[in-house]
Amino acid sequence: MSSQALLEFQALTFERDDWPLFSDLSGAIKVGEILQITGPNGCGKTTLLHILATIQPINVGTLRWKGSDISQCHQSYLADVAFIGHKPGLKLSLTPRENLQWLSKLQPLNRCTSAEALARIGLAGFEDVPCYTLSAGQLRRAALAVLCMTQARLWLLDEPLTALDVQGIADLETLLLAHVEQGGAVALSSHQALTNPAVRTLALDAMAEAEL
């Protein structure tokens, strides 16, 4: 593997009870690239992202972070990864600002203040309303505001474009590009094509669909 690989996964096999999702999947997320995981519904994109984020344990295979096995450097890996899943991960009764504030206690979010982050993601004026009054797209923007603030090098994003309007998608793409240009890396799943030049796609086989 190239020396630039941030996260490598080797011979990943994942099966749920008696349903093999993917077997012997290898690859790497390299510095300066956006890895778009594509594939039909149910092919295992979410599962793969959960595995990369170490939320879901793997059955077989290894994960290597900057060359060393992930179980050896789990803490430092976690300090350097930002994960945003299907669910926004915000407390609905708190405001976006409060949400970002407590998240910054857990993760190294100090590239900018929460107000700046919210303004950049198009939520200026909504900093101090409770999150349950936000629309679907606004809520997703609030979740993505973390990305403006984080110092993590690796971003793992599960369908980040969901619910975003055209402007929102453009904003996010700018953000991704800036991140990879500064030496970061992104892995995201999406069914929509990105316009970004740094995108490399990883197509997951549709085992589930193929079998039918």
Partner: protein
């Protein structure tokens, strides 16, 4: 970088502000506690003598139930909105964050119950000698309830099962605390020394404090994958 104490107090602060936000929530366990204690004279007997005999047990049982009812929100809500994942992916040790959540839970449910227990003692005609051991015992006991309950709450977090499975899991574990707690009060009322029992309760809570955060953190890692 994030710091250990920053993360710890960050979580406590967050959970307390959520509870504050729904102002009712702070008072709910308390009112539940009050209502259960009201049901007893209605359902069983309003005679002061009989009430006094039941008072220690009833106060303890309703403190237990009040904690239990608030328990399924401990991790469930965070799981449902995805913020539990943020907690688990923090570079800070998970058991510490779990402990912070438990402490916040205790501050919102256990502490009000402890503070109001003398009032309930009065309402149920508890003899005066019983008040101090009731307060002391409930302080230690509700802490154990929150700590052990967290393990059950973590295990059932992804199961969408409501609170009943959780009650089933943790209630047997609450038995010793209930016994020690009530008998401390009973002994005090009967004029005996209750130091030994209270010491056992203290030992039990110290021990639980040592293991429960780790067990709950382990349980969360398992429970989150449903």
């Amino acid at each position: 970088m994030t710091t250990l104490s920053g993360a710890f107090f960050g979580v406590i602060h967050r959970d307390l502000s959520i509870a504050m936000r729904h102002r009712g929530d702070l008072l709910n366990p308390l009112f539940f506690f009050l209502i259960v204690v009201t049901l007893v004279p209605l359902g069983i007997s309003p005679e002061p003598a009989r009430l006094a005999a039941m008072a220690p047990g009833m106060i303890w049982i309703s403190a237990l139930l009040a904690t239990l009812l608030a328990l399924d929100n401990l991790f469930q809500a965070d799981f449902a909105d995805g913020s539990l994942v943020h907690l688990m992916l923090s570079p800070q040790p998970l058991w510490l964050l779990v402990l912070a959540k438990i402490i916040a839970h205790w501050l919102v449910t256990g502490l009000p119950v402890v503070l109001f227990s003398p009032l309930l003692g009065l309402m149920l005609s508890l003899p005066e000698a019983g008040f101090l051991p009731l307060l002391l015992g409930l302080t230690l006991g509700t802490a154990v309830f929150s700590l052990l309950g967290a393990v059950g709450a973590a295990l059932t977090v992804a199961l969408h099962k409501g609170s009943v499975l959780l009650s089933l899991l943790v209630m047997p574990l609450y038995v010793p605390v209930l016994i020690f707690g009530t008998s401390a009060v009973q002994r005090a009322v009967d004029g005996m020394s209750y130091g030994g029992v209270m010491a056992m309760l203290a030992a039990a809570s110290a021990f639980t404090l040592l293991i429960a955060p780790f067990a709950a953190a382990g349980a969360l890692k398992v429970g989150i994958n449903g």
